[in-house]
Point group: C2
Chain length 202, copies 2
DNA sequence: AAATAATTTAATCAAATGATTAAAATATTT
DNA sequence: AAATATTTTAATCATTTGATTAAATTATTT
């Protein structure tokens, strides 16, 4: 062992990981070259293989991390037995939008990498967690005639889709970076109102 | 000139294009090898370069085609001055879902390739078309206090997001292929009702 | 301080991949 | 049918790219 990280020194390993987070999420696995990553980190290409063995192993680490963030963030709210359905909707909307504003590339990265490679994703038990949640029970109770998945897909769609389509709106000249942030702040208020209106329909 | 396409003979050029459509939309530009495409077409690798000069040029052709489909399909409805707002919502929802059921890989393909390369997308004037549309005027009239983009992002999110997240729900065991199709058929009824409810909130 | 262990570098390798070439096969025109 | 043009193939090239190696450097232990 070397490098006592006593002060502020960031280890080469951590620099590579940080660079990998950035480059992988921006360009995706296939379009990323190991050389892009080490260049971003200001380091040597052999170090990547020294610390992580291969591009694929490094990717798995980053991907698992990102999936945990992407799916994990709402789990506590889903299971909270002390909150009303309306409260959960507000919490999930707010919390998710805040997190994605910090990680705007995350959704399209996670979703398109899962398309390319289900294997990693299956390690995370999203399906069971979701279906056994208090949130789903509350949705069923409120609208027994409609599959809860419809509401969930709609809610997540309204939250996540703007991030996925941001490049489209930007290069179409409909939105700039600042306009997007403003829009997402407004959505924290709008979406709960709209989702409640949806749940109120017969 | 050779190959008179008098009967059913599909030209090599068209076989390659068809294969390219399939492989590019399934795996994306970077993860696609020219060898994948010609193999899918049952042809020789030199033919791809003979007819299309390069992987990139072939990709541009496919990408422009897909963007036209992805964005173009709703344009006639957006501009129809004879229909009510509610009618437009029904038409767009129905038409879009039907088209995407035929092309389920299209959204994630188009959206992630635009992220990687704005250049091509800018050739299509989506921004201006949208903002000058009858649909947007009707949205403004109905809810002057809310930017039309909020409604559009929500509507498109509810339509498109299920396709983008289909691999997630499938490998999470929440949905199989048939369940997904059923769900999307149900959504043709549900979404217009929900969008109208959103537009009805104060 | 010497010996040992860990980290970093420059140089290189092997495989994958987009592209080309020259010849063969097929179709079209004269 | 001969001449010409087009299409297809097998073989090969050049570059890119993930990975390795052996030596140099730096840190840690004895």
């Amino acid at each position: 062992m070397a490098k006592s990280t006593s002060k502020e020194a960031i280890s080469a390993e951590e620099k590579i990981k940080a660079a990998a987070r950035k480059v992988f999420t921006q360009k995706g696995y296939a379009a990323t070259r190991t050389r892009d990553i080490v260049e971003e980190a200001g380091l040597n290409i052999a170090l990547l293989n020294y610390y992580f063995r291969s591009k694929e192993k490094l990717f798995e680490i980053i991907m698992l991390e990102k999936m945990q963030e992407f799916f994990g963030i709402i789990i506590p709210f889903l299971h909270d037995e002390t909150t009303t359905l309306d409260k959960k909707i507000e919490q999930i909307t707010n919390r998710y939008i805040d997190m994605l504003l910090q990680n705007p590339d995350m959704p399209i990265f996670v979703l398109s990498e899962i398309r390319n490679n289900n294997g990693l994703f299956k390690k995370i038990q999203v399906g069971k967690i979701l279906q056994s949640s208090h949130f789903v029970r509350q949705l069923k109770e409120k609208q027994p005639g409609v599959q809860p998945l419809h509401f969930i897909a709609s809610m997540l769609g309204m939250i996540i889709f703007p991030f996925v389509s941001k490049p489209v709106f930007k290069s179409a000249g409909v939105l700039n970076e600042h306009g997007f942030a403003t829009m997402m702040e407004e959505r924290k208020k709008l979406l709960p109102k709209w989702i409640k209106a949806m749940l109120g329909t017969k």
